[in-house]
Structure formats: structure tokens, C-alpha cells
């Protein structure tokens, strides 16, 4: 396996050259980061070139880095991580692109490259508010009809802003501001690397 992913990363470096912002091998997985402008063209090449042959898009995941390690995050906030799988070559790749504008994050849609991207991108749009230009049907998918906001952004509270209840007087379901207080049972703690020697002891 090790030699195989090294071969893949060498191939990627050779083919993408300057366009690859970084190629990282970590824990047996290869991550290729490209600029938002190259995201779609890179995807097409990864699918069509026989040496890569990524026939399947397995997953698209949105990421909001704004609270990374409880520190200030200095670069673009939103990214999409796309997991690709090649059945012919039996390898995987993570393709990542950061969306340039934090206020209005946009990436190119991969719907016409892999049809399976359709729902995955709708999900990322719904939960993170990343737009996908060229997507044929960018509707919300998981949240309620008429939902406001993008719940998986780090600044969206876990308990949300509104709650729903049945109002016996109006005899219908109504929305009202949430009445529960958000609470944290275990605080989020980031320790220095090798704290307590995890994985070495």
C-alpha cells in the first residue's frame, strides 16, 4: 500500500506541477489541494486520465476551519474535501479546494463530472452555505423547508435559533425562539502535541 500511494503522489506531482498547491501523504492517504479555479479542471483530469482513473466520487464534505485548534484561522475559512475512488487502480484521493471569499463562498460544481456529486453538493450548500456554480438544482436537502442559516458552520449554535411546537390556540405548528440554554458538559481542550504520549505509550 505504501509504495502505491507514493506512486500516486508522484504521478500527481508530475501531472499537476504548479497547479498542485500541496500534496500530502498522511496516515496512508493522499490529499491534493488545488486552487478554486483549478478545482473542476483537476477533477476532469483525475477522472479521464488513465493513470488516475478516478471513476467514482465517493463523498463531498464541507469544512469550516474558523475555529481550528481554538486559534485564529488566517486563511480562507471554507473548503470542500472530495473523496475520490478509482476502482481500476484501487486507490483513493482526497481533493481539496478552499473557497476564496468567506462572505460568499463559491466553488465550481462537479455535477457534470460525476453525477453523484449532485446530492453531496446540495448537502454541503445546505449545511455550510458553500455555493456550487453550475449546479443544476442547488436546493436545501437535509434541513426543514424554509430553514434559515447554515447549521454546520462553527458560529451556528448546536441548539439552533428556533424551535417548533404545536400551538393549541392557533391550532397549528408554530416556530418560536429556542427556550433551551446551550451547555457544554466537557470543555473542548486542545493540548500540545504528544500530550500524555498518545500512541506512544
Amino acid at each position: 500500500m505504501t509504495t502505491k500511494i507514493e506512486r500516486l503522489s508522484a504521478l500527481l506531482g508530475e501531472h499537476f506541477g504548479e497547479r498542485a498547491k500541496s500534496i500530502v501523504i498522511d496516515r496512508g492517504e493522499v490529499t491534493l489541494e488545488v486552487a478554486a479555479d483549478d478545482y473542476r479542471s483537476a477533477a476532469i483530469e483525475l477522472r479521464d486520465r488513465a493513470e488516475f482513473a478516478f471513476e467514482q466520487l465517493v463523498d463531498v464534505s464541507g469544512l469550516d476551519y474558523s475555529a481550528w485548534a481554538n486559534r485564529e484561522w488566517t486563511r480562507e475559512r471554507y473548503a470542500a474535501s472530495t473523496h475520490l475512488l478509482s476502482i481500476a487502480n484501487n486507490w483513493r484521493l482526497r481533493l481539496r479546494a478552499f473557497a476564496p471569499d468567506d462572505g460568499f463562498p463559491v466553488l465550481d460544481s462537479l455535477c457534470d463530472v460525476w453525477p453523484s456529486a449532485n446530492w453531496f453538493e446540495r448537502e454541503v450548500f445546505d449545511l455550510f452555505g458553500i455555493m456550487f456554480s453550475g449546479h443544476p438544482d442547488l436546493r436545501r436537502i437535509l434541513t426543514d423547508y424554509g430553514f434559515v442559516g447554515h447549521p454546520f458552520r462553527k458560529d451556528f449554535p448546536v441548539s439552533g435559533y428556533v424551535e417548533m411546537r404545536y400551538d393549541p390556540e392557533q391550532r397549528r405548528v408554530v416556530y418560536q425562539p429556542v427556550t433551551i440554554e446551550p451547555r457544554e458538559n466537557t470543555p473542548r481542550v486542545v493540548r500540545e502535541a504528544n500530550y500524555g504520549d498518545v500512541g506512544h505509550g
Binding site: E29, Q56, V58, S81, N90, D144, P151, V189, R191, V198
Partner: protein
Amino acid sequence: MAEIRNYTINFGPQHPAAHGVLRLVLELSGEVVERADPHIGLLHRGTEKLAETRTWVQSVPYMDRLDYVSMMCNEHAYCLAIERLIGVEVPERGQYIRVMFDEITRILNHLLAIGTHALDIGAMTMVLYTFREREDLMDAYEAVSGARMHAAYYRPGGVYRDLPDQMPQYEASKWKNAETVRQLNENRQGSLLDFLEDFTNRFPKYCDDYETLLTDNRIWKQRTVGIGVVTPEQAKAWGFTGAMLRGSGVAWDLRKKQPYEVYDRLDFDIPVGKEGDCYDRYLVRMEEMRQSNHIIKQCIAWLRKNPGPVITGNHKVAPPSREAMKSNMEELIHHFKLFSEGMHVPEGEVYAAIEHPKGEFGVYAVSDGANKPYRLKLRSPGFAHLAAMDAMAKGHLLADVVAIIGTMDIVFGDVDR
């Protein structure tokens, strides 16, 4: 000539054949489906967001509630992701137990899938038979974890505890007299492994029974042959995995191609379909159950001969034993830190995928070095399958939509997360 009008109908969200809360907006021309637009998210609980607010190990029980008919497989992918992030090894016995329960889960899942699929398209008997066998396997779940469904048995670093030496038995009551109880307890005299071995010996016969009921059944074939045909190219493009992909003739199984745990040491075959229709996918699932049965047998044989630890001895990841905790300061500190602050997972990201009964279930875990996940993305197979609903149902009759939902093996805990 009668006037034909186009209809738009709501299939669900409360429909017995929708396998949960699926609202399917169907545009019909006569009885032919022109467009199918699934509205999902009615069971969205935000598991991924919830996981960000809990320590790594606290999210294990949430995984059970994703795909609530194959509980342990979800836990497995989650634990694998944590183990890869930390770089901790699972003891061999723990790996065998995991593989054995993965395969039990696969049988559980396929029994439900085939039983309800048959029920949806008119074969009532199947579901009664398959639920009878599920009962035995659920008892195995209960014996090992205390819960029949939401087990929380797999933990990062191994499994919670070793297999019990004594299988729990029925007791006589108002409803069960001594004779009934004696019969029920007949195969529960020994350990859990004895009980499972007895099951694996009986199971091939049950599979034959199911095949007698369905495989050559004229009505079953009329409802499934040639319905929902998927070519291998389409299956790949739509991101199909598992039986949906193999039914179309692509020999792809993560257990063989990217083996995890001890699958590379076990002997089993991958069934592959030919036509890519609902009937082939049924045959694939049927054969997978027989293969799973074969794997369970091999695991039982190995587990009998090889005692040992089932969870890692690294106490930064797994808790120490109660006994050690009460007598040893070091272990007490480990225990306290583990259950208050939780384990710290080094910075990094990993995508751990397993061959879940429904397809490829992946966990994309991103850690920034904290005691909680930074981001957890659950890649559920059903989500990708249901996304192809429109393309698969187009041009079929309304009644075939039910057959297509059945063959996709949709479970909403898994699709909506």
C-alpha cells in the same frame, strides 16, 4: 379514448413501503413515472454536529442510531477512523470478534432488506421467516453488549469486553411454561460461540427455504426481473457501492480489495450480478448471507482456540480494568482523565471506509488535536443510492418505485444522519 391527465403525487412521508420517512414527489403520466424527487432530511438529527460537541468516545452510541439495522458496522467505521488517527493497534482477538459481529450484522441487515423488500411487493411470508432468524442474532447482540440493537460494543482500540461464557437463558413464566422454556433453551446451554455455531449450522437450511419461496417464484420474478436496471458505468458514476454496485457486475468489495481487520486471512467469495436489475441484487444479497455465514464459522473456530485481550492496553485510548483502577494510582488517573476530558487525538484527517451491508460506509474524521472531533463527516451508502432515484425510476410504473426503494435497501437513519 379516455382523457389521460398528469398527476403529481406525494409518496410518503408516511408510507409503509417508503422504509421510513421518505417524501417522494412523483410526477406521473398515467401510471408511468416521469420524475421522482425524493425529499429527505425528515430524520436529520445532525449527528455530525452533535459529535463535534462530544468527546470522541461519547459519539460511539450515536453511530448505532445512524443505520439502525446494521448497528455494529457503523461503530466499526467510526472506531477504525479514530484508531487510524491515533495509530493504535487492535488485538487480534478483538479484530476477529469485530469481523464476526460485522458478518452477523450483515446477515441481520440482509434478512431485513430481503424480508421487507418481499413484503413491499407482495410476499408476506418472507418477512415472518426472516424476522425469526433475526431474533437469534439479536440475542447474540444482547448477550455480548446488553442491548438488542444499539449495542455500543465496539470501542476505539477494540471491543468493550470479551464474549460471554454463558448464553443467557429463558425462564419459565406466566406465558412460557417449563416445556416451552426447555425447548427454547436447548441451544443456549453453552457459551455464545456454541449458540452461534448452532445458528451457522442451521442457517444454510433457512437460506434454502427463502430461495424456495422467492428465487423461482413467478410473481417475485415478474416484479423484479428487468426492473431498475443499472449498467456498470451508471453504477460507478452515481457512486453506488456494495450490493448495488456488485449487482451490476462490478466485482468490488472493500473486504477483498482494501482489506481491514483480518479479512485478508479469511476465505470467502464475492457474488456478482449480471443484469444489474432488482432480481440480481436480490441474488447477490442472498449469496452474501451464505458467505457471511461461512466467515462467521471461520471466526468461531479461531476464537475458540485463541484467547487473549480484546481491547488495546494503551490506557490513553481504552480504560483500564476496574480491578486495576481500584488498586493502582496510575490506572486511576488514566480512568479519570479518560472519562472526564476524554482521549486526545493528534491533529490530522482520515477517511475510514468499511464494507457496510448496504455499501461503502465511510467516516471522514478531522481532528485539530482536541478531545473532540473537529469535523466528522459520515458517508452513508444510502444517500448516494437514493440520489439516483430519479434516474432509476424514470419510465417505470408507479408500483415499480416500491420495488426500486426496496432494492436500494434504504434506511433513513443512514440517509439523513
